[in-house]
Symmetry: C2
Subunit: 109 residues, 2 copies
DNA sequence: GCAATCGTCAACCGCGAGGTTGAATATGCA
DNA sequence: TGCATATTCAACCTCGCGGTTGACGATTGC
């Protein structure tokens, strides 16, 4: 259980990986398309996707030549519950959050 | 903003640091007392506390010879809000969470 | 003033994370 | 069959993390 929290928090600690998750929030994507906005090699993105996958945050499914990446938001639940024990989370402000996500995307490289 | 998320998630990725936070959830503690249950040097704990402090998750205040560590739960808010965008967080199950925390404490070394 | 206590600093070590490049693998298409 | 496309693998490099130990600085109490 501790291991799983380790993996999830460690995966979320990298801004590239958070940006990838935000992209996948909108739609499933092929690896090549995930990599496109980033200023790094495809192999590097492939490794990031492996980290996310091992943390359970995404799944990958091959369809023909293409591997489709899909968000698995359930994996965040345990970590989110853990954090909420600290109790001071204000009610969700959706507008603030959307600005947030956009900035994540913009800064994602 | 990205930097702050980096720092918070990275700080939370270490089980020793999560155990420290859980201890501080109950009460403020001196550095020496924080270190006591762990099988590592005081210097190592001191570094962990510095990481938590730089992430804003705790504050440290010197009173005499003793430095008191205090949880700053507000720092988790940004990260928690980020996670909640992924939407699948079930309603908080407090019993499950308490079992969770106890296990964190038990496994903390 | 001096010794003891509390905590950090500095130097070091080993290891894994995050990146690169180039070759290998899997699949689709002509 | 053979070439192009999609993705991973393998080897390598660098850097920072998490730990150690020993010296140092701050504070208290005798």
């Amino acid at each position: 259980m501790t291991d799983r929290l380790d993996a999830v928090f460690a995966a979320l600690a990298d801004p590239t990986r958070r940006a990838i998750l935000a992209m996948l929030l909108e739609d499933d994507m092929a690896v090549t398309d995930v990599a496109e906005p980033f200023a790094m090699s495809l192999a590097a993105i492939s490794k990031h996707l492996a980290v996310l996958s091992e943390a359970g945050l995404i799944s990958r499914e091959r369809r023909g030549r293409v591997i489709w990446c899909k968000l698995e938001p359930e994996a965040m639940r345990e970590a989110s519950v853990w954090m909420r024990a600290f109790g001071q989370v204000d009610p969700l402000d959706l507008d603030a959050f959307e600005r947030f996500l956009e900035q994540e995307l913009a800064e994602g490289d």
